[in-house]
C-alpha cells in the first residue's frame, strides 16, 4: 500500500501533495545510519507515484544508489542560520532598506499575495522545474502551504515601498527562541528591482524585535540569488541535504 511505513526507513506520507499535485507522494529522509544495502532493499518497497528522497550531503554511496534506482537529483536544500546579534548593512543597503517598511497583512493583502504567486513569482522550486508538474500546480502548492501555515498560527507580512506592496515574508515560531521565515519573495513588478534584500532584512528585523535568539531558514541551491543575499547578510551555513525525486507513471 502506497504511503504506509513498513520498515524503520523514515518515510512520511506527504498526503498534502495529493491535494496540491494530484499524486500520492512519499518523502523519505535518509538517516546517517542507513546503509546502502538496506536502502537498496527498502526504498523500492516504499515508493509512491511521486517519491522525494532527502539525503545528507555526506552519504555519497546513497547518491549513486539513488541514480541506479532511477531517481533524479533536483536540488539541494541548504540550512542557513543567523544569530540575530546584528544586521550588518553597508551604507547603500541601509539607505535602500530604510525606504521599505513592513506590516502585518490584512485579508485583502493575502488575496493580493495569492494573486502574485499565481502570476509565477517562484520559478526555481523542485515542483516548478519538474516537467511532470505544471507551473499552475507549483503556484497553487505555495498558496495551499501558506493557508495551512496560517491555520497553524504563522504570521505574514507585506513589504511596502512608497505605498506600493512590493513583496512579502512569512514568519513561523519554531519554539526555543527559533523563528523560521519559511517563504518570502518580491512581487512581479519588483522582481527585477534590486530590492530583494528586503525579503531577508525585514524578517531579521522582526525576529530581533520579537526577541528571538536564532533565525533558521532553508534555501534551494536552484535559487542562487537568494543564497547570495543571505550570505551578504552574514548568515552562517549549518547543513545541506540533497533532494532526489522519482515518478512512477
Amino acid at each position: 500500500m502506497l504511503g504506509k511505513v513498513r520498515t524503520n526507513l523514515k518515510v512520511v506520507n506527504a498526503f498534502w501533495e495529493k491535494r496540491n499535485l494530484g499524486v500520492d507522494c512519499n518523502e523519505i529522509e535518509i538517516q546517517p545510519g542507513d546503509e546502502a544495502n538496506f536502502l537498496k532493499r527498502e526504498l523500492p518497497l516504499n515508493e509512491a507515484a511521486y517519491t522525494v528522497v532527502k539525503v545528507p550531503s555526506n552519504k555519497f554511496d546513497v547518491m549513486f544508489l539513488l541514480q541506479d534506482l532511477g531517481y533524479n537529483y533536483i536540488e539541494s536544500s541548504i540550512n542557513l542560520v543567523h544569530d540575530l546579534k546584528e544586521i550588518r548593512l553597508n551604507p547603500l543597503q541601509q539607505r535602500i532598506m530604510n525606504s521599505i517598511s513592513y506590516s502585518a497583512m490584512s485579508n485583502k493583502d493575502i488575496d493580493q499575495l495569492f494573486g502574485e504567486i499565481r502570476k509565477g513569482i517562484f520559478t526555481t522550486d523542485r515542483i516548478y522545474i519538474d516537467p511532470y508538474f505544471s507551473h499552475e500546480q507549483a503556484a497553487n502548492r505555495y498558496v495551499n502551504w501558506i493557508c495551512d501555515e496560517l491555520e497553524r498560527g504563522c504570521k505574514i507580512f507585506k513589504l511596502t515601498y512608497k505605498n506600493d506592496s512590493v513583496g512579502f515574508f512569512t514568519f513561523k515560531d519554531m519554539g526555543g527562541g527559533v523563528c523560521y521565515p519559511f517563504l518570502a519573495g518580491m512581487y512581479e513588478n519588483y522582481l527585477k528591482s534590486g530590492l530583494g534584500l528586503c525579503t531577508i532584512e525585514k524578517p531579521l528585523k522582526q525576529a530581533i524585535n520579537m526577541n528571538y535568539k536564532k533565525y533558521s531558514t532553508f534555501i534551494s541551491s536552484n535559487n542562487v540569488s537568494t543564497f547570495s543575499a543571505h550570505v551578504a547578510l552574514n548568515f552562517s551555513f549549518k547543513k545541506i541535504y540533497h533532494v532526489y525525486i522519482k515518478h512512477i507513471v
Binding site: 534590486g194 540569488s225 550570505v231
Partner: protein, 79 residues
C-alpha cells in the same frame, strides 16, 4: 578616462565580465547581476561619479543602456 570608460569599468569589476559582455546587458541576464550584485553596481557607480542615486532610479536601473539614461539625470553624460 571618459565617463563611458568609467561606466563600463564599474560593470566589468562588479560582475567580473568583459567590456564586450556589457553590451545589451540586462538585470538577471547573468547570475552575478542579482539583488546583491545590483547594490554593488550602484555603490560602484556612486563612488565613481560621486553621486547619490535615488531609490526610484535604483529600481529602474534594469540594463546597461537604461543606466546611461539614469546617470544623465545626475549630470553624468555617458557617451
Amino acid at each position: 578616462m571618459t565617463n563611458l570608460e568609467k561606466y563600463i569599468k564599474a560593470f566589468e569589476e562588479t560582475f567580473n565580465i568583459t567590456a564586450e559582455q556589457t553590451k545589451g546587458l540586462k538585470y538577471q541576464a547573468i547570475s552575478e547581476w542579482d539583488s546583491v550584485g545590483h547594490m554593488s553596481l550602484i555603490a560602484a557607480l556612486e563612488d565613481e561619479f560621486d553621486i547619490m542615486i535615488d531609490t526610484d532610479d535604483i529600481i529602474d536601473f534594469s540594463s546597461f543602456e537604461k543606466g546611461k539614461e539614469i546617470l544623465s539625470k545626475y549630470d553624468v553624460e555617458i557617451k
